[in-house]
């Protein structure tokens, strides 16, 4: 399920990779296909928080699948009006079949052509494997990145980090 590593409970694994655009930077806009004839652009969601979840590939085993997990956590994100977008280099037909199989209630975007272009824009592309990293970005209502995390190779990030970041962001906004 998860990659075999020498220290299974080592906290060094939990720090994540030193990659990905960081908090404070503007989230680059993009326009990616979600179906053969529909595109989704980041700027459509200006005015609400956006969670971008980059992942290597559709069809990983369901019990260790980050998309299935996020799908299950979706109601918590919706409490904060956050829009969840999944991005991998799979093509649209693969996404459509995968989303149907896993009963996903959020869009999957296809970073297929040019391959990995948007993932690279976010410094979340794994050149060796030719797939997106397991990377999360929280973007605020003004389109600024507020939190990011790029998981170590082979380890799913889970939803705790982004959920906490979203709640903290929301609390800061309502406190004003």
């Amino acid at each position: 399920m998860n990659a075999a590593r020498p220290s299974p409970t080592g906290s060094d694994q939990d720090r994540g990779q030193d990659k990905g655009l960081t908090a404070g930077q503007n989230a680059p806009d993009f326009s990616l296909k979600t179906t053969p004839d529909q595109r989704v652009s980041l700027k459509e969601f200006r005015g609400q928080p956006v969670i971008l979840t980059f992942y290597p590939a559709d069809w990983s085993p369901v019990c260790s699948d980050e998309m299935a997990l996020f799908n299950q956590v979706l109601p918590e994100f919706k409490k904060h009006r956050a829009m969840l977008l999944g991005i991998s280099v799979d093509n649209v037909w693969c996404h459509i079949a995968f989303a149907k199989d896993r009963n996903l209630h959020f869009p999957l975007l296809s970073d297929f052509h040019p391959k990995g272009e948007v993932s690279s824009l976010y410094d979340a592309y794994n050149e060796n494997e030719g797939v997106s990293e397991r990377a999360l970005f929280l973007i605020d209502e003004q389109g600024v990145i507020r939190w990011n995390y790029v998981a170590p190779i082979g380890i799913n990030p889970g939803a705790d980090g982004v959920l906490q970041a979203l709640e903290e962001m929301h609390a800061a906004t309502t406190a004003r």
Binding site: T9, R102, G158
Partner: protein, 174 residues
């Protein structure tokens, strides 16, 4: 980053001594094949480490496993009659033939009061408890099922008996 945010307490389903220096917490889904596969492994670890405290918490991936929630409710209902672990074991051991009918059959095998069992699986407070455990798991960094926490830290290694044994040995040399 991923640490158990809800400490083990008397509210939990526990097997082993409460004051153990080694705590193994599993977040599981009764319909998940990996959890079913991990069940005999956990049983063997419990035999090898009788001084270990083992805790099971619910993490039902209900969107993809339609029986995950009903199974969790069945386990909670059995718990109300003091037979959580018996039901837990039965659910994992019969993983390939789970169904709502099967849950009732298991309850009968366990000699449960069937009227109470049926009432309890439909009790909203049971659903609440399962949901609470699920959210607690999300916030602790559960990233799939099964996810194990050893002394509060998420275990990221393979579900390999030898590796788990040596990890546990480091914490509780015997």
């Amino acid at each position: 980053m991923p640490r158990l945010i809800i400490p083990v307490s008397a509210e939990d389903h526990r097997r082993g001594p409460d004051d153990s220096p080694v705590q193994l917490v599993e977040y599981g889904d009764f319909e998940c094949p990996y959890c079913a596969a991990a069940h005999p492994l956990v049983q063997r670890l419990l035999q090898k480490f009788p001084e270990m405290l083992f805790v099971y918490r619910h993490f039902p991936l209900s969107e993809i496993h339609p029986l995950a929630l009903p199974a969790a409710y069945a386990a909670e209902a059995a718990d109300r009659q003091g037979k959580f672990w018996e039901m837990h074991d039965m659910l994992f051991e019969n993983h390939d033939r789970l169904s709502e009918d099967a849950f009732f059959a298991f309850a009968e095998t366990l000699d449960l009061d069937m009227a109470a069992f049926e009432e309890d699986i439909n009790d909203p407070s049971v659903a609440e408890r399962v949901q609470e455990q699920f959210i607690g798991g999300v916030r602790s960094g559960v990233n799939g099922t099964p996810t194990f926490f050893i002394n509060g830290q998420r275990y990221n290694g393979p579900l390999n008996e030898r590796i788990l044994e040596s990890t546990l040995h480091e914490l509780a040399p015997i």
